[in-house]
């Protein structure tokens, strides 16, 4: 009887508001994902939780939508010649190990400091990683917008590529050769981060750009392969624990499959560094969002004392900032697509005019 009641509490009642919210957030998350190779997950999981979905069900249902979305996105970008399949698979191999390490760390922290401690760890990881990596990505995007269209290989990557440490692997699509040993830390950290904050791509994509030396376009595309493989593995685990709410997954998928393809199409219209601009912007805003959630966990651990209404207000702003991050990403992506499409139409009209002269 108790078990049945527990089962009932696992799955929320669906209203039209819930459905619309999940569909729209799924669409925008997919759009951003298709464009920068990752994203959406960090809004969807807290988004579902704010609708009353238990944390485990939210994470599981999100993951169950993530791998097919990544598959569709990866396939689309593969047809555009942007995916380096070998790079994705090699990275996914070490990422899978990184996920296991990440899970073990989470379990240890949960055991020692409970749920508040775990939430604090996750939020601090968010803030630290996103601020450092996000600022660098943004700075790099701003720097490269000042030079010509050419996108040179970053210095660190060039140095690492020149080190001959067998086994050396050649990645055909990415057009680079590098020692396997340098791909391992990037993969491990990607998996570790994925297990911690659900978005491995925030380390994976910059890692592939700055450490391995693949272009922004190829890194973000190949990240979808990693996301597919990691997502599938994670989903199997969660599904076996009976945590997937298929209704939530399908609604989110309905939106995100539309979005991811649009995002993938968008990458063919914009300059290379637009991917970095979108990524950097989202990362920095989300970092602020998570920073605002930190006081709540510090208070729960009795590390600080805080006014309850102030904490609720900060949590509200934190969630709003997160949605804002996604929305801004979507606006930049769609805006640059519309701009590029208009320019293309004008060029076509001009050339057609001259043909008839």
């Amino acid at each position: 009887m108790t078990e049945h009641a527990l089962e009932a509490a696992k799955f929320i009642d669906l209203t039209w508001m819930n459905v619309s919210f999940l569909f729209i957030v799924g669409f925008i998350g997919g759009l951003v994902s298709g464009f920068i190779g990752s994203g959406g997950a960090f809004v969807l999981t807290p988004g579902m939780m704010s609708l009353g979905v238990p944390a485990a069900v939210a994470v599981a249902s999100n993951m169950c939508h993530k791998f097919p979305k990544a598959m569709v996105g990866a396939y689309k970008r593969f047809r555009y010649g942007q995916v380096d399949l070998k790079l994705g698979i090699v990275m996914a191999a070490s990422a899978t190990v990184g996920v296991q390490i990440g899970i073990k760390i989470q379990e240890w922290i949960l055991g020692k400091w409970g749920e508040a401690g775990s939430n604090l760890y996750v939020s601090l990881s968010f803030v630290f990683v996103l601020i450092t990596v996000g600022s660098y990505v943004f700075y790099d995007a701003w720097k490269s917008s000042k030079v010509t269209d050419a996108d040179p290989v970053p210095k660190l990557a060039r140095r690492l590529q020149s080190i001959n440490l067998p086994p050396m692997i050649h990645f055909k699509t990415a057009n680079l050769t590098i020692s396997l040993w340098f791909t391992i830390p990037v993969g491990l950290l990607t998996g570790l981060l994925a297990a911690t904050i659900a978005v491995g791509g925030f380390v994976g994509v910059p890692g592939m750009i700055y450490v391995i030396g693949a272009s922004g376009l190829i890194s973000s595309a190949s990240e979808l392969v990693i996301a597919f493989l990691m997502g599938l593995g994670g989903t199997v685990k969660w599904a076996m624990a009976g945590m997937v709410d298929i209704r939530l997954t399908l609604i989110i998928l309905a939106g995100s499959l539309l979005g991811v393809q649009l995002g993938a199409i968008g990458t063919t219209y914009v300059k290379e560094n637009m991917i970095k601009i979108v990524m950097g912007s989202i990362m920095i805003i989300v970092a602020f969002s998570r920073a605002l959630a930190v006081p709540q966990y510090l208070a729960q651990l009795d590390l600080i004392s805080a006014n309850q209404s102030a904490l609720s207000f900060m949590n509200m702003v934190s969630f709003a900032l997160m949605c804002l991050a996604l929305a801004i990403g979507a606006v930049i992506i769609l805006g640059s697509m519309i701009k590029a499409k208009r320019a293309e139409l004008v060029n076509r009209q001009v050339s057609e005019t001259y043909e008839n002269v």
Partner: protein
């Protein structure tokens, strides 16, 4: 050329409707039995295959619907951009100034 793109668009519209129907049918099937299916799909263990298979099947149908929808709306990838990076220029050996024959006027 224009006739070709007209046919392509018509095909995309047809495929959008077709895959859209399949996708809608799948969603209808799941949501009309949502309570029963949600419980069944969360039994765990070997039943894990059910949500995973469903999600794969739905993604094929809905993914194809989405792809054709964008094509039918005229939103397609542009072929102008290439994914390759410009090749790094090989540093040339320093040129020694060659001896030149000077002719005085």
């Amino acid at each position: 050329m224009s006739a070709n793109s007209e046919t392509k668009k018509k095909k995309a519209v047809l495929r959008t409707v077709m895959y859209g129907a399949v996708s809608a049918a799948m969603l209808a099937a799941v949501f009309s039995h949502s309570d029963a299916l949600t419980s069944l799909f969360s039994l765990g263990g070997i039943y894990a295959a059910l949500p995973i298979a469903t999600v794969f099947a739905f993604s094929f149908a809905h993914g194809a619907f989405a792809s054709n929808l964008w094509s039918a709306l005229g939103i397609e990838a542009t072929t102008k951009k290439t994914a390759t990076r410009p090749a790094e220029s090989v540093p040339r050996p320093a040129q020694r100034p060659r001896a030149r024959l000077r002719m005085s006027a």
